[in-house]
């Protein structure tokens, strides 16, 4: 059964689908963070993005520092689990070198926004925010009356990115994307978007994907472009492929503290690096060895095959 081949390279995928002023979501909750795609957006000099990401982190820092982002829509602003995002802080606290618009929700608020966007709904309700200051500062968090007689309940509006970019372990050429380990809200963020780019560790034969259809997080109809991009989540990780580069995260904090250091880093690791292969080469085999993981494979399950009746 032939299917349209969606495999392309990252510069083409970004050039085709990401433009100035768009609303762009790059998701991945501490896992499978699409760093390579973010770097390509920087290299292409795309600006004025409304950048959606539940957990802005080093990826958000570099994209903001590079001037790609006008507005940040997010729910937790920290590097890794707790470290400060100094580039974000400079802009928010001192408008240095420029202000940054921030639209803030909680994690589940963002998840519900993506869910509503994915399901073509105007909003979804959630049991948060009663008594919080967040709704006062974010007028998009509203309340509806419960038609079944219960108390009012807060709702958040659908989020519909122009483009969502995710990284995954594998996809076939048609764009059926499989991931495992922490899958976060990627399915929702992708279905919420008009266009989806999936970077993957491996493009695999469709037989691999079809041997385990329950593993598919994004069916091909939800995906516009597939890019094979080994190591595309570094310095975050890809479960079973390579581990998080914790040393990188620790090294980032002093860089983050000085804007000039961030810009130097961008020059060295993004602008002067044509693609992820070159980035990994620059990183070097020793560093890569430090994040290698040993095998621990899932036990296969049987999907069965109907026997031909003689």
């Amino acid at each position: 059964m032939p299917s349209p081949d969606k495999v392309t390279d990252l510069p083409s995928a970004v050039a085709t689908h990401v433009g100035n002023g768009m609303t762009v979501a790059l998701e991945g909750f501490g896992h499978l963070i699409p760093f390579a795609a973010g770097h390509e957006i920087i290299r292409q000099g795309i600006t004025n993005l409304t950048f959606c990401r539940m957990t802005p982190d080093i990826l958000a820092e570099v994209m903001i520092a590079a001037g790609c982002v006008r507005r940040l829509v997010a729910s937790f602003f920290a590097s890794g689990s707790a470290g400060s995002l100094h580039e974000v802080r400079r802009r928010v606290e001192h408008s240095d070198p420029a202000p940054l618009e921030v639209e803030e929700y909680s994690h589940y608020g963002m998840v519900c926004r993506y869910q509503a966007g994915a399901a073509g709904l105007p909003f979804l309700p959630l049991r948060s925010y009663a008594g919080s200051d967040l709704p006062r500062l974010n007028p998009m968090i509203r309340k509806v009356a419960d038609p079944y007689g219960g108390p009012d309940i807060y709702v958040v509006p659908a989020l519909r990115p122009d483009v969502t970019i995710v990284h995954a372990q594998r996809a076939d050429r048609a764009g059926n994307v499989q991931m495992w380990g922490i899958i976060g809200a990627q399915q929702e963020a992708a279905y919420a978007a008009r266009t989806v780019i999936a970077t993957v560790e491996e493009v695999v034969d469709e037989d691999v994907v079809r041997s385990d259809p329950n593993r598919t997080v994004l069916p091909s109809h939800a995906v516009s472009a597939v890019v094979e991009c080994r190591g595309g989540a570094h310095p975050s990780y890809a479960q079973g492929h390579y581990d998080r580069d914790n040393a990188f995260y620790r090294e980032w904090t002093p860089i983050s503290k000085e804007r000039d250091a961030v810009l130097r880093w961008l020059d060295e690791w993004v602008h002067r690096v044509p693609d992820r292969a070159a980035y990994l080469e620059k990183l070097g085999p020793e560093r890569w060895e430090s994040v290698r993981v040993d095998p621990r494979t899932s036990q296969p399950v049987n999907f069965g095959r109907r026997r031909v009746v003689a």
């Binding site: 032939p2 059926n176 079809r210 259809p213 598919t216 109907r306």
Partner: protein, 268 residues
């Protein structure tokens, strides 16, 4: 599966098609150029299989059971058949399937059946007679109530063409046309077109306007427009370019009988 091209022009000769075969062949032709179809069981199963072997090898089959991109090795006896799962591209839970795939707008065509279709393409699949004490209790809305507003368009296949199946007024509206949604609240008109095509044993009816009504578009060989109109429960308009329905080709019939439904599960 084979996808060898059909010799689409040779006339049908000694292999007289059954009504089911005829309907399946007509239905399959509606799928030219469509990407994703929400397929039901029975006649739609034959139609989508035939379409994939003839006019549209890339057609993606999606089932309300959660299966996307099915590549069945055998004929499915239902929308939840294990042969649709083995080798599929994806199996999603129902929240994702109904919420993200269907309501999210990814389905081009939904195939629906119905006990009654009205002039606006609203469907009754709930009851014949009164709701409180129905004469016949039918299966109900199922996924059709969602497919109708959310699929790009819906194709209905009816096995009868008479004023009972095509009445002036439905006994119950299970799956409303956009016309009825508009009547409830003009702002609640759904994204989908609603029923675009009704295929019956007598004719092909089409509804070209989203808020318009069905018209007689094709009349099956051997029947007249007047016969079709007389068998319809309201004064149905006739398209300016009404024509005779294209007959199934020999190759279509051969595929249905010799490759698709060799065990005569649906071909009766």
């Amino acid at each position: 599966m084979s996808s060898r091209p059909v010799g689409g022009t040779e006339a049908l000769s000694d292999v007289a098609p059954s009504t089911t075969e005829f309907l399946a062949a007509v239905a399959a032709r509606q799928l030219v150029g469509k990407q994703r179809v929400f397929a039901g069981v029975g006649l739609p199963t034959l139609a989508v299989d035939l379409a994939r072997r003839t006019v549209n090898p890339d057609l993606e089959l999606v089932y309300e059971s959660g299966i996307c991109g099915a590549q069945p090795e055998g004929l499915a006896e239902g929308i939840a058949d294990s042969v649709l799962v083995s080798g599929a591209a994806a199996v999603l839970g129902m929240p994702a399937l109904f919420g993200y795939v269907l309501q999210g707008g990814h389905i081009d065509v939904g195939f629906l059946g119905a006990a009654q279709v009205d002039r606006w393409g609203s469907l009754n699949t709930s009851v014949i007679g009164d709701w409180d004490q129905p004469r016949v209790r039918l299966p109900g809305g199922g996924g059709a109530t969602e497919i109708m507003p959310n699929a790009g368009e819906c194709i209905v296949v009816l096995r009868r063409h008479d004023p009972g199946a095509l009445p002036a007024r439905l006994d119950f509206c299970t799956s409303p046309s956009p016309v009825r949604a508009h009547a409830e609240d003009p702002r609640m008109v759904p994204p989908g077109h609603g029923v675009s095509t009704v295929i019956t044993p007598m004719a092909v009816l089409r509804r070209p306007e989203k808020l318009g009504e069905l018209v007689v578009s094709e009349v099956h060989p051997g029947l007249t427009v007047d016969e079709v109109r007389a068998a319809t429960g309201w004064d149905i308009p006739v398209a300016d370019d009404v024509r005779e329905t294209e007959r199934p080709t020999v190759e279509q019939i051969r595929l249905l009988r010799e490759e698709i439904d060799t065990v005569r599960l649906y071909l009766r």
